[in-house]
Structures are given as C-alpha cells and as structure tokens.
C-alpha cells in the first residue's frame, strides 16, 4: 500500500509541476496558464514519471545514477505483490491478476453492450453512451490481449523454462508492470470527461473532433506502449543471454519460441502505435495537421501507422496462446511435440509476414486500389505458417494418450476456436469478399474467435496448467471442467450468430440496428449473458483453491519442461542447483529421454 501511496503522491506532485511548466511556457507566449487538453497531456506525462519514481524506481534504481545508496528489496509474503518487486514470479502474478481484473471489467462492459443490443431501438442508453462503453470495452480488451498472457507467463514461466534465475533486467521488469496501473486508472477516468467514442482504433479525424475524453485514450495507449517495449527488450535479452547450459535454440520449449516471436513484434512495432498516438495528440492539442485533409494532411496516414502496429499486435495477442496450447497438448497427449521445427518455422513466419499485412484493414478505405493486391497476397499467405500450428497440434494428439483435464480441454478449444477464427480470416483478406464484410459483425465474430477463442482460452489453459506451479495448490478439477464447458458453449453460442448477423446487414459499433436483426441479436445477448456468468465460477474456483486446494506436487502433470523440475511454487532463484539441459523437452515415450540434469554442486569453489 505504501508503494501505491508513494506513487500517487509522486504522480500528483509531478502532474502539478508538468502542467505548471507548460503553463509558464504558455504565459510566455501570451496564452492562458491553463491550456485545457494541452495541460492535461503535459501533466499526464509528468504524472507517469512521478508515479514511477514514487513506486520504487527512485528508491531502488535511480538513486544509484546519482551515486546515492539504493534501497535493498526486502518485502516477503503477500505484501510483495503491492511493491516494486523485481522477482519475475511476483511480476508475473502482478500482470496476471491485474489483467484478469481488467478482463472481467471489460467483460462487464460487454454485458452492458449486449443489454443495449438485446432489442432494436434505444433501450437503456443514448448512442453516445453506447459508443463510450463500446470504446472502453475494446481498448481495455486490447490491452488485456496484448499484455495478459505474455505478461503473466512470459514473466513467471519463461525464465524458469530456460533455466534462468530471473529476467535479464529485473528492475526494468518491475518498471514495465508499474506502467500498467496508471494506464488503467486513466482509461477509467475518461468516463469523468464524458468518455470517448472512437472505438479502440481512435481513427482520425473523428479523434480530433470528438469529446476531449479521447486524449485519455491516446495517452493510455501511448503509455502502455512503453510497458510493451521494455517488456519485449527484457524477454528477448533473457532468451538470448540467460539460457541455462545446454539450452540450445533447438531445445527451447515452444512457448519460449512463441514468446520470443511476440517480443520481436512488440519491440519493432509498438513504436508505431506510440507514433500514431503522438500524431493524434499533436493534431488535436497543438494544431498540427497530420490527418487534417483540408490543411494538406491525410486521414489515411493514421490508419497506415495505426495498423502497422495493430495488426502485428494481433499476433502479439495470439502467439503466446498458441505456444501454451501446444505445450499443454504435448504434455496431456503424452507424446513429443509433433513437427517441432515446423511449428517454430511457422511462428517465425507469422512474425515476418505480420509486418506486411496491415493494409488489409483498409481495403474499403479508399486506398489506392491496385495497392490492395500485395496486401491480399501477404494476408492470405500468413495463413500458411499459422496452419503449421494446426499440423503440430493434430500430429501431437494422433495416437497419444489424451488426458482430458481442464488445461487440455482449454488447449483443445484453442485449436477449435482458432480454426474458425483463422478460416474466416481467409474470407476477410480476400478483397472482393471483404468489401461486403468489412466493418460488419462478421469481423467482430472473426476477431473474437481469434483473440478470445484463441488467446483468452489459452490464457485460461495456462492459468489452470500452471496454477499448481504458481500457487502450490491444485484447483478444483470438477469445477474447472464445468467452467470449461460453460465458457466453451457460451462462447460459441455468442459468436457464431454474429457471423450470420454480419452477413445479413449488421455493421459494427452501432447502438441500434434494423428491426429485422432483432431475433439474432436477442439470441446473441442471451448467450453473452450466459458466457459472462461462467466467469464467476472461475473466480470462485481460483479464490477457494488458493487456500483450500489440495497441496500440489512439484510436477502434477508429468511435464518435462524445466518449470516442473523445481518446487511448487519455485524458490526465489528458481532452482536449488543450476540446471543443465541435456535434451529437448518433449521426449515423452522415449525410453532414455532426459531434458535436464542437476549436476551436484561439486564444482563449487
């Protein structure tokens, strides 16, 4: 708690300094001291710095730049989770819990949207309110998608999987996380400024003419970008430099490869979302004209910059999930991961191709028509490396001994849902077909199938899979299975009808629709409420098992990867003796297979 109070105090002081500095400059130019949105922006940027210094960057880090003694980190027990803790396992849990909270919150907003869409006409809210709810739902969910899985398991599990003691830059890791709380607060605070109605995409020029709440969105996206980039630097460096002895590239667990691909994408592309947000803010607050067509700018520039990040971001959301699903499918089929190299090749292929597909979001934007052709080609082709993941999943299961426990059920659902998401993606990347489907509920269904059906189902798979490792307790298997079936059925009943609705004249982001679409929307809303209720079961299972769950063994699933070769939960430095990797992690069914040995610490001294 002290951490958060320090952060807030630091943030508020910095906000005042930032806004005042701008005020002084404004006075010098003959303007009023308080510049409205401009002052808010300056204040916010200062707030973030003040907040970070307050939560611990000053005490544990920056002091040493000034040759001052830094504080030693001491907290233990539950209170660690509320501090600037550099243990990657604590940071992983911080990410997981924070983003699960945000996920539930944004899910609640989805319920509000479905309530409004339950029947045509205006039911509970104005068009403006609906747009605010929809925008907030989208933005928060995108943040969850980008950061939850890789933030939680990329931090908690990945270093253990490669036999490291911690991330390469532990303090940077803590810093990455502590960017998140102010961003969440900022987004939620937008409602006090009448919200924003631009959707999570914040397209120009709507963003420059709409309510001032949109700057909260711009600043939040801009700020969360720092978190992504620093996190990516950390994961990449960790994998490059901190692998245990013998952990050659060809022996990396597939989840590590997936996280590596994710980190590359975040590292390269996140700068573009920062740039899109900076440009938007400059246009709106400082009178620049990047996107103002009537002053020589071009609104399509925004879409180009935005999607140059935001399409790769889709793979940021899904790649770690696919990695988790494959990891689980191998363990719970008791078979080696099939065609491992092909799966790695597929994931890296997605990473490379994802840089070349962004304009498929702009097929009806009025972009140069022939230019759409190369983007159609690249987008259709990106389904090829993605398809290798399916080959690996099916090949791994074939002839195996499938243990259908909750993590496996979720992992299999990832394959099922992502198949539907992937195949409908083929439709959307085909220019002629996309002309009809663009901006309809077909798109909404498609990306929920990939990001929720793939990414979020994988997040749940990962939570159940690693729950014993992270908490030292088993979750309740029966409740877990019930929650799986509840979520799986609810999800499909909610989103399958949306394909039909989109094909039949329902476009996205509308508070109201033609009465002909009333029945399908009523059905969708009911399914969505059903789906929503299912998450309460999950929260209950997790919360109760934390205290009352059976004590977990070190390796309850019989997995070969390194995180199962240490205690549950692992000690501070992950392993009592440094592991030495002697084989690949998927030798199920092979008589002499060995992934790791722990040489006796005889070499010491």
């Amino acid at each position: 708690m002290r951490t958060i109070i320090q952060g807030l105090v630091g943030g508020v002081i910095a906000f005042i300094i930032g806004a005042a500095l701008l005020g002084i400059v404004r006075l010098a130019f003959g303007l009023s001291f308080w510049g409205g949105e401009a002052s808010l922006v300056a204040g916010w940027l200062a707030f973030v710095i003040g907040w970070l210094l307050g939560v611990g960057v000053w005490e544990y880090w920056v002091r040493e730049w000034f040759n001052l003694p830094v504080k030693k980190f001491e907290a233990t027990g539950t209170s660690r989770y509320f501090t600037f803790c550099t243990d990657h396992k604590v940071v992983g849990i911080q990410y997981l819990v924070t983003f699960l909270g945000l996920f539930l919150l944004a899910g609640l907003l989805a319920m509000v949207m479905r309530a409004e869409l339950m029947a045509p006409g205006r039911n509970y809210m104005s068009g403006a309110t609906y747009n605010n709810v929809m925008s907030l739902h989208g933005t928060i969910m995108v943040f969850v998608g980008v950061a939850a899985t890789v933030g939680a398991f990329g931090n908690y599990i990945l270093p253990i999987m490669i036999g490291a003691e911690d991330m390469a830059f532990p303090r940077l890791n803590a810093l990455s996380f502590w960017f998140v709380p102010p961003v969440a607060i900022l987004l939620l605070a937008s409602v006090f400024s009448n919200g924003y109605d631009t959707g999570w995409t914040g397209y120009a020029t709507l963003a420059s003419s709409t309510r001032e709440g949109v700057i909260f969105y711009n600043l939040a996206f801009f700020t969360v970008g720092f978190s992504s980039i620093l996190g990516a630097v950390n994961i990449l460096t960790t994998v490059i430099a901190l692998r245990a002895k013998g952990m050659y590239w060809g022996r990396l667990p597939i989840f590590v490869w997936a996280s590596l691909g994710t980190a590359i994408l975040s590292l390269i592309f996140t700068q573009f979302i920062a740039l899109a947000m900076i440009m938007s803010l400059l246009d709106r607050v400082a009178g620049f004209s990047f996107f103002d067509a009537f002053a020589g700018g071009d609104p399509l520039l925004y879409q180009n910059v935005f999607w140059f990040y935001s399409h790769p971001a889709v793979y940021v959301m899904i790649l770690p999930g696919l990695g988790i699903a494959l990891e689980i499918i191998s363990v719970f089929s008791r078979k080696p991961l099939f065609a491992y190299k092909w799966a790695v090749f597929g994931m890296m292929g997605v990473v490379v191709l994802s840089a070349l597909v962004w304009a498929h979001h702009m097929f009806t934007s009025g972009m140069d028509s022939p230019l759409r052709i190369p983007f159609m080609i690249t987008t259709e082709l990106i389904s090829v490396p993605t398809g290798l993941v399916f080959l690996t999943a099916l090949g791994t299961m074939w002839g195996g001994k499938l243990i259908l426990k909750t993590p496996m059920l979720f992992a299999l659902a990832v394959i099922f849902n992502f198949l539907i998401g992937g195949i409908t993606g083929i439709f959307l990347s085909d220019v002629p077909v996309d002309i009809q489907l663009q901006d309809t509920f077909f798109v909404v269904a498609h990306f929920h199938y990939t990001i929720v059906g793939g990414g979020i189902f994988a997040l749940f798979a990962g939570i159940y899979y690693w729950y014993p490792k992270m908490t030292g307790r088993m979750y309740n298997e029966r409740q877990g299975k019930i929650q799986f079936w509840w979520m799986f059925i609810g999800f499909n009943l909610t989103f399958i009808p949306m394909f039909w609705a989109g094909l039949n004249g329902m476009n996205r982001r509308i508070a109201d629709y033609v009465p002909d679409l009333g029945n399908i929307n009523f059905f969708t809303s009911m399914s969505a409420f059903f789906l929503g209720i299912g998450f309460l079961l999950f929260v209950y299972n997790m919360a109760v098992s934390l205290k009352k769950g059976e004590v977990a063994a070190d390796n309850p699933w019989g997995g070969y990867t390194l995180e199962w070769q240490t205690s549950s939960p692992p000690p501070l430095e992950n392993f009592d003796t440094p592991p030495e990797v002697v084989g690949d992690p998927y030798g199920y069914g092979e008589p002499d297979a060995k992934h790791v040995i722990f040489p006796a610490p005889a070499a010491t001294d």
Partner: protein, 319 residues
C-alpha cells in the same frame, strides 16, 4: 494406428461431402439486388467450398483423436514417440500454400477485376457524408438533395457512386449490393454497381444505405432508404424531380415513398430524439432538429437548392 487413419480419412470424406453439400446449397445470403451482389455471393460461396475440406480435416482429426485416444484416468505409459513426418509436413505446407495462392487468384484477383471491369457509368451519384447524414446529388440531372433520406436508382444501369466527406470518415454501405466504400475527407472515392432487382427499403431492410465507419454519436442511424426502379420509372422520377426544382416547389417532392413506406425502420427513428443525450456540446448536430435519420418522412425532407452553389458539384462529373 493405420486402421485409425483409414477410419479418420473416411470420416473426413463423409464430413466434407456433407459440408460441401451444405456449402453448395445453403441459402446463407440476404437479398442480392445487383449484379455485383450475385458474383460477390458466389465468391463468398467459393471460399466456403474451398475452406470446407480444411475445416473438416482439422475437426475430424481433432474429435477423432479426442474420442479415440482419450484415456480414462492417468495412463500408465506414454504415447508412441513420433517426432515428425517430413513428407507430411512438407505436403501440408505445399497444399495450404497452394490453397492460399488459389484464393488470391479466384475469387481475389478475379473479383477485383470484375468489380472494376467497366468504368463507363450510365449514372453518376455523388454522396457526401457529414455527421450524421448524407448529401446526395445527381450531377447529370442537376439534382441535389441535402440531408437526403433516400436514393433513387434505375435498374440495369451502371451506377457510379462518388464519395467524399466534409468532416470525419464515413462509409457508404448498401448490404443488398454487398458493396461499401469509405467517404474520406479530402479524398474522392468511388465504386460501381449495377442494380438489378426492383426493390426498396420497405421490402427489405438490406436495401438501404448504412454508414459503416464509426463516425460518432449518430453513427448507427446514419442511413438512407434506397429505391431501385425500372429505367422508365426512374426517367419519370427524374423529370418530376427536375420540374419541382425549376418551380421551386418544395411540396409534393416525392421520391416514390409514401410516409409509411419505411416500415422496416420505424423503430429506429422513433428513438432518435435522444441519440445524443450526452453530447450536449454539439447542439447543432442535434438529431431531432435535422431529421436526417427520419427515413419515413421522405416526402418532406428532400431539401433542394434551386440554383444554389450545391449545383456546382456536377461540374466535375463525367456524366
């Protein structure tokens, strides 16, 4: 496992056959009111036909494995250590690549070529989006409607829509045509369509203009009715509309819709007065004053500007 493989492949064939039967015969589309709609539906159907074997392949093997290989309780030994199968993986890669390239060509490139095959328009319609209504003009006939509620189109004529916007990005979508194009400030965009069916919004709500790009508070209801007429009926409508423009007679302007013609949309505008309850800052955009969304009062909303500047819009038309 060889036997398993044979069973699974047979199942795959069966499911594919069932799936393809559905794909070829299912009536999954709303009304198709233009030539383009028919071949875009065919394109969509072709994609389903092509995707079906892939879809059933994955599902068959997924569910077959789940049912066939599930173990009751914890198994006492591991599965067979199959590592990889290079011919299989290479074949998978080759086939999926081939499919991807195929769909790029057909329906992708083929469809794009077909959409832009004929650049000679019989009729040009200029539409300008503005929060939250459309301005429509027929430059060939010197007809301009601000805050239009309806678009009249002749059947069997090649119509070119020329779009732009004065404020934010909008998108003109007519679901029954399967076509949409963004209206972008500072940019001229266009698409061609050849309406075929004699239908209007009253008969089917998919025969409507719908804004498809989020444009703010009134986005959902930024719509226009669409009415497709026989060519001679359209001529008559033009003549009548022009006569009214000349005489400056605002009354009796009728684009063919009676006041109750837009039944399908009644529900939408009955609520429009509260649309921007939150948006008090934009008083001039207030929905209940501009009636841009009032689709069922088409006979009184057709503002026209006789001899006004708006007429100059047609100077750059190619009609």
């Amino acid at each position: 496992m060889k036997k398993d493989l044979i069973i699974a492949v047979i199942l795959w064939f069966v499911f594919t056959a069932v799936g393809e039967y559905w794909a070829f015969n299912a009536n999954m589309f709303p009304i198709a009111a233009a030539e383009e709609a028919v071949f875009l539906d065919d394109a969509f159907r072709l994609l389903i036909i092509l995707a079906m074997p892939v879809f059933t392949l994955v599902l068959t093997f997924l569910f077959f494995s789940i049912l066939r290989y599930r173990s009751k309780g914890d198994p006492d030994s591991d599965g067979p250590p199959m590592r990889t199968n290079t011919p299989l993986a290479a074949g998978w890669l080759a086939i999926t690549t081939g499919l991807a390239i195929f769909v790029v060509i057909n329906p992708g490139l083929k469809g794009m070529a077909e959409l832009s095959a004929n650049p000679n328009a019989d009729l040009v319609i200029q539409v300008t989006g503005e929060q939250w209504h459309w301005d429509v003009s027929y430059p060939q006939y010197d007809l301009t409607y601000q805050r239009a509620t309806q678009i009249a189109l002749p059947a069997d004529a090649r119509v070119k829509f020329e779009l732009t916007s004065t404020d934010v990005i909008h998108s003109l979508w007519i679901p029954a045509f399967r076509l949409k194009m963004d209206a972008v400030p500072g940019r001229d965009t266009s698409f061609y369509v050849t309406p075929t069916e004699i239908v209007d919004t009253e008969m089917d709500s998919n025969v409507r203009v719908q804004c498809a790009e989020l444009c703010g508070t009134g986005h959902a209801r930024m719509q226009m009715a669409v009415r497709i007429m026989e060519p001679d009926e359209f001529e008559a409508w033009v003549a009548e509309a022009k006569a009214m423009t000349m005489s400056g007679d605002m009354e009796g302007m009728d684009m063919g819709s009676s006041s109750d013609s837009m039944d399908g949309m009644d529900n939408m505008d009955s609520e429009s007065d509260n649309m921007d309850g939150m948006d008090s800052g934009d008083g001039d955009m207030d929905m209940d004053t501009d009636s841009g969304m009032d689709m069922d009062s088409g006979d009184s909303d057709m503002d026209m500007d006789s001899g006004s500047d708006d007429m100059n819009m047609n100077s750059d038309s190619d009609g």
